[in-house]
């Protein structure tokens, strides 16, 4: 078996365990009210963190302000103007590409 094949097997099993532990362990229980409230708030924290990492870090260990930041700013404007989802995302791409085009 190749190295890649071995890693594939390990990760295939390991990642599925990570993904399914929550639903399998908790699925048939009703969460107590406090935990349920926290679970309602957790996506807000997670989404915000994902915006930070995918918008400013993208795989590395440093935060950078670059063309993507401009794209995100454009997305904020689009959202304040109540734009549809697809328009917001397309605008972010467009502005990012434009900034990259015109910057030295």
């Amino acid at each position: 078996m190749t190295d890649a094949g071995l890693v594939l097997l390990l990760l295939g099993v390991g990642i599925l365990i990570l993904k399914s532990t929550g639903p399998v362990a908790l699925g048939s229980r009703t969460l107590p009210a406090g935990v349920a409230r926290a679970a309602d708030l957790v996506p807000a924290a997670l989404l915000s963190a994902l915006i930070v990492t995918s918008g400013f870090a993208a795989g590395g260990q440093s935060l950078t302000i670059d063309a993507r930041t401009c794209g995100l700013a454009a997305a904020v404007v689009a959202l304040r103007l109540r734009s549809p989802f697809v328009v917001t995302v397309a605008l972010a791409a467009f502005v990012t590409a434009l900034v990259r085009l015109v910057s030295p």
Binding site: R37, P43, S48, S62, R68
Partner: protein
């Protein structure tokens, strides 16, 4: 519970499909990475079908490309994947049913399916959004991995030139936006983002997302009267 709109299913479907389109360039990039790491087409496709987690795939195959050991590659993939545990806890109430069915549905647990899956307060709609997001991305991810591995030797910068890497954070922002309707949710989001920002230089990729869950500590305690 407040803080989230209850989007109609047509809206959830649109979000799911847009997310799928947003990950297409990353699937192509992963296919390209697999070429660089000398993976066969079958191996590359198997990663996208069986691991089905972008961050972990890039981490593991990246280590292999750079000459790392299988242990190092697998560890990197698992470490980056730790946040999936948190996602599973968030989505658990919506993914009920027989154990095997829950495991099968859990395979689709990624950033984007969790994001679309938490866009609604109704559990059935949460599962709807999650499955639509997960399945559309599964199709696009596997198709683009195949195309990237098979055909893309020469133009890896196209996605960056077109600003397509900005579509992922913009999509997360668009999904977060309707949840910011209460002060409590806004505080938690700001805290989560700040914690992630602080953690990025200090920890490997993926970990900042896990630590950011602590942002919920910014929520009101139950005894306080609501002030919003």
């Amino acid at each position: 519970m407040t803080g989230a709109a209850n989007p109609p299913r047509t809206e959830l479907r649109a979000q799911a499909v847009s997310m799928a389109a947003a990950v297409a360039p990353f699937g192509l990039a992963f296919g390209l990475l697999c070429s660089e790491a000398d993976l066969s087409i079958l191996e590359s496709s198997a990663y996208s079908a069986l691991v089905f987690t972008g961050g972990s795939q890039f981490a593991a195959v990246g280590v292999l490309r750079d000459g790392g050991t299988p242990a190092a590659a697998a560890s990197a993939g698992m470490l980056i994947g730790l946040r999936l545990l948190a996602f599973g806890v968030v989505m658990a109430p919506a993914l009920r049913g027989p154990v095997l069915k829950r495991i099968a549905m859990s395979h689709l647990m990624i950033d984007e399916s969790m994001a679309v899956g938490s866009a609604s307060d109704d559990l059935d709609d949460r599962r709807f959004g999650y499955l639509w997001g997960g399945l559309s991305i599964f199709v696009v991810w596997n198709l683009t991995t195949f195309v990237g591995r098979s055909f893309l030797g020469s133009n890896p910068t196209v996605a960056v030139d077109l600003g397509l890497d900005a579509t992922v954070p913009a999509a997360f922002l668009a999904l977060l936006w309707p949840r910011l309707s209460t002060g409590e949710h806004r505080r938690v989001a700001i805290c989560g983002g700040l914690i992630a920002a602080i953690t990025v230089p200090l920890a490997p990729p993926g970990i900042p997302i896990v630590v950011a869950v602590l942002g919920v500590l910014a929520a009101k305690r139950p005894q306080e009267p609501p002030v919003d």
